[in-house]
């Protein structure tokens, strides 16, 4: 049984595979004890799918947790949506009545959940292993950027435990250790992509990009594919996944970082450290 179980979800492998290849490059570089989660479905997402049926959302999420618990100790997600679903489901399942009712449903598919799996967001994994990350950094990323946390790695704060809701900083060291200069701004806004009304999403993403521009950022760094889709859709600032920045700083080849897939074209310039 491996320590970490990589769960890619759907949006990243199907729309933004560059976030997956960068994450895999980093896990490789760190020699993490990690295997791919096998036989899992869509998490399902904590916004749209949950809007249809909370019962089905919780049941299918628990089915995934049950399968994961037989394969590894920690479920490593690279999407804040999957993260929210699994963390929230684990919390609800602490209630014995809820767990019994869900298990009654899971029995129909020959499954059972008895806990025993921890859920970790890839960005928090980088934060927790910052020393190991630092050791593998080969150069300095020349970039002034705004780090955007989004909602679902922060809230509910009782479960996500961020250092601050309004001005979070817990992921700042991950970008800074790569040499990125981070601007001061409110990185805890909402990108709006959770809304079923397209106009709401567009207006909120636009406001986030405007705030980043006002703060003097040349790019946005995100940790969630929904935020990526919304903010890149505005079309004014390049958007990067945090793991792309880290992978580039670790010397990942261009076809792993995958910037060619971005709509708002950009390059990550890395100045290699001079060895003494």
């Amino acid at each position: 049984m491996s320590e970490f179980l990589l769960y890619t979800g759907c949006l990243i492998p199907a729309r933004f595979p560059q976030a997956e290849s960068s994450a895999r490059f980093i896990l490789n570089a760190l020699k993490a004890d990690v295997a791919d989660a096998k036989g899992l479905s869509c998490c399902p997402d904590p916004v749209m799918f949950r809007s249809a049926s909370e019962d089905d959302w919780l049941t299918i999420a628990t089915a995934n947790l049950a399968k994961a618990a037989t394969q590894g100790k920690k479920l490593l997600t690279i999407c804040s949506g999957c993260y929210e679903t699994f963390v929230d489901a684990c919390f609800r399942l602490e209630d014995a009545d809820v767990r019994a009712e869900v298990n009654k449903r899971l029995a129909k598919a020959g499954l059972r959940y008895d806990g025993g799996i921890e859920v970790v967001h890839f960005a928090r994994f980088l934060e927790q292993n910052i020393d190991a990350v630092k050791e593998r950094i080969k150069g300095e990323v020349l970039l002034r950027a705004a780090l955007f946390y989004g909602c679902h790695i922060l809230k509910p704060s009782s479960l996500m435990k961020p250092d601050s809701l309004r001005f979070p900083r817990f992921l700042h060291p991950v970008a800074e250790v790569c040499g990125v200069e981070l601007v001061e701004w409110d990185g805890s806004r909402c990108c709006g992509m959770g809304s079923a009304e397209a106009d709401v999403g567009k207006a909120l993403s636009d406001a986030v990009v405007s705030a980043a521009e006002e703060a003097g950022a040349d790019a946005l760094i995100v940790v969630c594919p929904f935020c990526f889709a919304g903010l890149e859709g505005v079309g004014r600032l390049p958007v990067l996944f945090l793991q792309q920045v880290v992978a580039a700083a670790m010397g990942a080849p261009k076809d792993v970082v995958g910037l060619a897939l971005h709509r708002v074209k950009t390059e990550i310039e890395v100045r290699e450290h001079v060895s003494a």
Binding site: C10, L11, P13, A14, P17, E20, S21, R24, D36, G39, L40, S41, C42, P44, D45, P46, V47, M48, F49, R50, S51, A52, S53, E54, D55, D56, L58, T59, I60, R92, D95, D97, V98, E101, V102, R105, K108, A109, L111, C151, K155, P156, S157, L165, R189, C190, G192, M193, G194, S195, A196, E197, D199, V200, G201, A203, L204, D255, V256, G258
Partner: protein, 174 residues
């Protein structure tokens, strides 16, 4: 189905609210048919902190978390169960749940109303389509051969999600 704490209790049993039949706005309170997890709505002060913080309300003034909680208290919520209802503007940022001084959780109310609308076949098509896609493919988004080529170029394995077991869907029963 009693999965997400759908225990329906009369208010008098809980002892967590006052027994006044009307709230401060003179409206009659809906007291006995609220699902357990929405019971804290009875403590709502209508202070509108949720609406002030709400990013969706800033863009779409028809969406107002305070008045959505009020619709539960004065029993007018069934008028919100349609595909063009303001409940679908919510971005699920969870700020309202986070900062409510009475711990009311307005987003939980929105989520419950959305479930009720879906149950009555009154959800936007995008939601119905999404559930169908997850059920039939195991993924929330469609993907084709072009994607597998892009993945190959990045050195990634083929994307092949597993369908969730069909028995786990409760369908659309009332």
């Amino acid at each position: 189905m009693d999965l997400c704490c759908w225990r329906i209790l009369p208010m008098a049993e809980s002892g967590e609210t006052d027994s006044a039949p009307r709230n401060e706005l003179g409206r009659k309170r809906q007291t006995s048919l609220l699902p357990q997890r929405l019971r804290r709505s009875l403590l709502c002060l209508q202070c509108a902190k949720c609406s002030g913080l709400c990013p969706a309300a800033r863009v779409n003034p028809d969406f107002n978390p305070r008045s959505i909680v009020l619709s539960l208290l004065d029993n007018t919520w069934t008028s919100l169960l349609s595909a063009d209802s303001p409940i679908w503007a919510c971005c699920v940022c969870l700020s309202c749940d986070e900062f409510c001084p009475q711990d009311v959780k307005p987003h939980e109310v929105v989520a419950w109303l959305r479930n009720e609308a879906f149950r009555k076949d009154s959800a936007p098509q995008s939601i119905t389509r999404l559930v169908g896609t997850v059920r039939s493919s195991g993924a929330s988004v469609a993907f084709g051969r072009g994607l597998q080529r892009r993945r190959e170029n990045l050195g990634l394995p083929e994307f092949s999600p597993t369908k969730p077991p069909d028995e786990l869907f409760s369908g659309n029963e009332p």
